[in-house]
Symmetry: C2
Subunit: 255 residues, 2 copies
């Protein structure tokens, strides 16, 4: 038995997130279908996170235990042959048998794209939020700094029956940058609550609109109440960008 | 009567080119539909060029004569409200009454995008040709330099009954650049024959593959025979990028 870590990349426009669902197409489903054409065994697939419908991934990680001896490089090529064109496998490598894409994950980085111009960009449709009023990057960064640190992020999460335990997460980085008309928010943390990034972004949109001040963010965190934060920003501006694991786990390299 | 020049931008994936057709959706059709919701007169629309199905435009120009006194800025906003999200109007301005988007055009610039990596990029699907073998930018530039100048480009055109006259065009610029895994070919000319850019690109792909040498391009031009050039590259890598008019025509500015 081998344990394989795969990194994939996908445009989430046509999918209801990663995790398999009844009555809705998911990335996991098309991945399993492609895999079924290559290996003739039942394979249990572990994704690094749930993602919502419409959310994209520049890097998403999957771990799976298989009996097949197919070399990792061949597995990448074969999967890409059978996957739809909006999903691609970037790499595959063997990892220790107890590695788990989700539970072994040390942290993740998301980016959120905002097309900030009066006129919409046809090439950013379904790939960025369109916000047409001016955005002051300095005040957004000032606001975003309040996210950094170890906090109870209850105010920045959607109630979810599956999420019952600790609401504390450590955000290590939050930066806002402008590249022309594109404003990119980048957040790195050891873990994220359900809808956490999208609510963080929606709250910064309220800062941009002048509805709240940058320094209000600290207080919103302290309230531990969803109603004080801003709206949940649209899913299609969100990209899972990086997934971090221990170097020990990735040592047994086979790409 | 006013003559209005509009610049628009569109993702061509869902359209059979600009020019109106029976039984196929075109950009002109959705534009006319949107315009019909704003002005109550028949408007004759002139596009700056025919474009093929799947071809994109960062800048495409339209001229039209209208009686309506709607200010240009309001026209832009109203059109964007009624257009589908993969088409947007960037600007509108009044131009001299004899201006014509196609006949007044002094030149155009196209770019062609190639995703040059072993693994396809889901975010470039329908937006770039995928070519996975190495491309030597220097030899492509050496080859492309042969396109520059005033030549009979018969070898680089698809036979077209509408195209009966002079096959001579002046290419003023041809450059190939790499931005990471993206290779961008950029060509500027006073005019283009049917499929000219796509055949120029397809011929450079033959250079990249080693099927022909960079210096063979000059001879292929001299042959004046389509069969010596490379294949017509896929339409979806092609973007109309700039359209040039005389400053005299654009002087009467109203944006």
């Amino acid at each position: 038995m081998r344990n394989i870590l795969l990194t994939i990349c996908y445009d989430g426009s046509n999918y209801h997130g990663f995790q398999i669902q009844d009555n809705a197409l998911t990335v996991q489903e098309v991945f399993q279908d492609a895999l079924g054409k290559i290996v003739k065994e039942h394979v249990d697939i572990k994704g690094c996170s749930r993602t919502d419908a419409g959310v994209h991934a520049y890097m998403y990680c999957i771990s799976m235990k298989i009996e097949s001896r197919i070399p990792c490089n061949n597995l990448v090529m074969a999967l890409n042959r059978f996957l739809p064109k909006d999903v691609s496998v970037l790499s595959a490598q063997e990892v220790p048998i107890d590695f788990h894409a989700r539970y072994s994950c040390l942290g993740k980085e998301y980016i959120y794209k905002i097309w900030n111009a009066r006129i919409r960009n046809p090439f950013m449709e379904g790939r960025a939020l369109h916000y047409w009023y001016p955005m002051d990057i300095n005040s957004l960064n000032e606001a975003g700094l309040n996210y950094v640190g170890t906090h109870d992020f209850t105010s920045f999460s959607t109630l979810d029956k599956r999420e019952v335990k600790d609401m504390t997460r450590t955000v290590t980085d939050f930066k806002v940058e402008r590249e022309g008309n594109l404003v990119i928010m980048r957040v790195r943390a050891n873990g994220f609550l359900y809808n956490m990034v999208r609510i963080m972004v929606g709250t910064l949109i309220h800062v941009a609109m002048g509805k709240i001040n940058p320094q209000d963010i600290a207080e919103i965190i302290l309230c531990k109440n969803r109603k004080y934060a801003g709206p949940t920003a649209v899913p299609y501006g969100l990209y899972l960008n990086k997934v971090f694991y221990s170097e020990m786990d990735l040592k047994k390299n086979d790409v």
